[in-house]
Symmetry: C2
Subunit: 120 residues, 2 copies
Amino acid sequence: MKSLILFAHGARAASWAAPFERLRDASQARLPDVAVSLAFLELMEPRLPAEAARLIGAGCTEISIVPVFLGQGGHLLRDLPALVAQLRVDHPGVAIKVAGAVGEDPAVLEAMTNYCVSAI
Amino acid sequence: MKSLILFAHGARAASWAAPFERLRDASQARLPDVAVSLAFLELMEPRLPAEAARLIGAGCTEISIVPVFLGQGGHLLRDLPALVAQLRVDHPGVAIKVAGAVGEDPAVLEAMTNYCVSAI
């Protein structure tokens, strides 16, 4: 079984999660044979190690992680690689790959540009 | 003169700013008669109050602020409204409007979904 984990920052305000939940649901609708879930770096649950362990326990053998971050700061340069390195130690039989930040994608940039331009 | 300020979080890592700079440049190219600039909440310069003051000093009378955030957490629920309220006190002759978070836009969600789905 394959899984796709959308990895987001987390926040104290519950409202923070809403667009990530929409993103998860929209991605799941497009990938009916993949387990799509959210995991957070901090402040919200589930955290990445627990969510990955849950998926692996359910039979997942391949995990793709997409950082739902706008840019590449310390969380993606240091925190996520450390978490993924530990996942690979803890689950050596599982293939784990990590995509670039969502905000670095050219089509996402174009959609954001359209939105910014429309706000004037 | 109108201006569009793209308001982002900021981070310690200089690499964080790159997609926001691309967003600024792409928006500026689409809005040649508008002053488009970036401002940060914390950790990076310029901060919003200083950037707004600079634009107003240069003759700007209308400012649109777009929060380049994925979700609506405490920074958009509390910090940005407080900053904007102070801007309105400090610059009573300037029209200031604030858009919703970039990540809440349906077309941005769709582009992010496409990216996430392609990562599997």
